[in-house]
Symmetry: C2
Subunit: 366 residues, 2 copies
């Protein structure tokens, strides 16, 4: 009887949502596939269609902002940011970090680039039966250390264990709550022609590190993950440059994916100077051997900022004055034409379109 | 160089935490195992030792309350609750619900029994390559419907996909933020002798439903999950009975595990009248065939409340006046002796100790 009473009102609402998803599917031709592929989790086009065609259609509400990393939450006069990420990186331990500090820094960074002061984290673990406890202890200790560095507290958590063969050692979800002290919000639609595009440091280190750490490739390179908490660097930038339009940490899909989202959301052209994009030689070398473009490779301690063009030099100097931003660079400008596209000016005077990531060349990097 | 700079301060702090965990391990003899077992995720003793010996030691801070479901967050005058749960139920669809409404209701209920008004949810999906999109659509629609019923908004999310064989179709994490409008907080340490113990309805329906839905047992029973949002029922109770000490939703580990936590935390005896515990005949029959005690079987739409003994009848009437509480019952009393134990008075006049769940008779019920 209880079940009947509870189940009765559900189908109507569920059916409405399913109908809405189906209408969106026909209208926008999204999520054509019948089955989930690795590309749906890669942060590129397939992820975007999945999010827009399914989750946004289902959950739509004024505060659900699919292009922003966190949700702004009014709370009787104060504003909060809530964000979440699950971490499924493989291997769990890699040069420069592990899944633990990644899970803290990643969520801290989502809060920071939303303009919020990161404060509280939740942590949900999905563990595979047989996972070594010492490894879990290492991961948890790494999380605690990262939380301390980032000035956040892990205030609640959950642990599930699944049977052998139903996970891959350890998955972690962190949700984060941050406080919005500043009056501004930072969104892609604020970007306009004449703005400058900055990155806070050399790109692609995390993604290349993970690929090489898997040991499946016969490539050796002196690289380590750039995983780091960006809240101080972001605060330094915001204190210097009130004309910051948007910040985004360059994780899955890399810098190229962020710039494409900016171009589309603001209806502008993003023109990137290839020679100005900071990439360390070891990362460049590995990318060349692997046949991938560093612009698509994930960072876990770098962000892209679009700032008022008049403030570009001051913003750059501010970033470079902080240890985590000393490799910052001005990599491009926002133009009016062609709207919605990212163009790369190459060293040889050519120009090519940098599209959103398609498929999944780098599964489970975070 | 970046990696060196970032990694350098970490080992010290990490080592401190590892040392702390090791000291706790020697002192309290917790987490003896070298490897994670299914019991670590079952909500019983092994989970408790894992949480206390590892996570609490690592993350310890004033707001980390391992026995409470949510964390109370002061926010410049207002108070918030943040909570999280990952859902790994198998099968994903079962009579009375699915992983989607379970993931919403479970987190809503954690907020509600903390005394908070549930407001915002995050949703993190870990999907297995090859998972059918229509199934995902059903799950998401079910979440949306459940969110609407519970008056919450899913305001942010994340999607990861792992390779075939590295998950089991779909895992979901939800984190929830609730607003604490009431001045009270509800904790086990407030419980005292003379208080009354209530359950909001018949127990064990969710757990039995899941076990039977797996189809591995040759048992048929007319049962459905009791998954439901409890925020209104909780509000009804709190409006009536200002002497509510503690509320807990009876999920993994069941009513028995909650009562043991209360007995230990408050240093009291919990005396339960077996004949007063509401269990539907179909659940009772299935439990008898399976050789398990309904007191250990999970509910997803029931909670335990400990209230001032003088308010017991009023509280019971308030619960029974709400559709989700019409099967509520007064099942026991708090005594002074023996402290830390849960005693069950049987129909035959005997008394036996009801211990915390050991091992994991029911893996992946939520």
């Amino acid at each position: 009887m209880t079940a009947e009473r509870i189940a009765a009102p559900a189908p109507t609402r569920e059916q409405q949502v399913l109908d809405r998803i189906e209408r969106a599917r026909r209208r926008k031709a999204v999520v054509r596939e019948e089955r989930i592929t690795l590309a749906h989790g890669a942060g590129g086009k397939a992820t975007q269609t999945l999010v827009e065609g399914l989750f946004v259609e289902a959950f739509r509400n004024p505060r659900l902002a699919p292009l922003d990393d966190g949700a702004i939450l009014p709370a009787t006069g104060d504003r909060l940011v809530l964000t979440t990420d699950s971490y499924v990186v493989s291997p769990l331990f890699f040069p420069g970090g592990d899944i633990g500090d990644l899970a803290v820094n990643g969520t801290v960074n989502d809060l920071a680039v939303s303009g919020a002061r990161p404060r509280y984290l939740s942590a949900g673990f999905i563990l595979e039966e047989g996972f070594p406890v010492p490894d879990l202890a290492r991961i948890v200790a790494s999380m605690a250390a990262a939380a301390r560095r980032a000035g956040v507290e892990v205030v609640t958590g959950d642990t599930k264990v699944v049977q052998r063969g139903k996970a891959d050692g350890c998955y972690i979800n962190t949700a984060g709550v941050g406080l919005l002290d500043r009056p501004h919000t930072y969104t892609a639609t604020a970007v306009r022609p004449g703005d400058a595009v900055l990155v806070s440091g050399p790109i692609g280190e995390h993604g290349v590190t993970i690929m090489l750490a898997r040991g499946e490739l016969d490539i050796e390179a002196d690289v380590a993950s750039d995983t780091a908490p960006l809240h101080e660097l972001v605060a330094t930038l915001l204190d210097t440059a009130p004309g910051v339009r948007l910040m985004r940490d360059a994780t899955r899909g890399g810098v190229a994916t962020i710039l494409n989202e900016v171009a589309r959301a603001a209806g502008v052209a993003v023109v990137v100077d290839d020679a100005a994009v900071p990439v360390r030689p070891a990362v460049n070398g590995a990318c060349e051997m692997l046949g991938i473009d560093p612009l698509y490779v994930a960072c876990e301690g770098r962000f892209v900022a679009v700032v008022d063009g008049d403030e570009a030099e001051a913003a750059l100097a501010a970033l470079r004055g902080h240890p985590l931003g000393e490799g910052a660079a001005l990599i491009g400008r926002i133009g009016a034409d062609p709207p919605g596209l990212v163009l790369l000016k190459t060293a040889f005077g050519g120009t090519r379109i940098v599209d959103t990531l398609v498929g999944d060349p780098l599964p489970r990097i975070c």
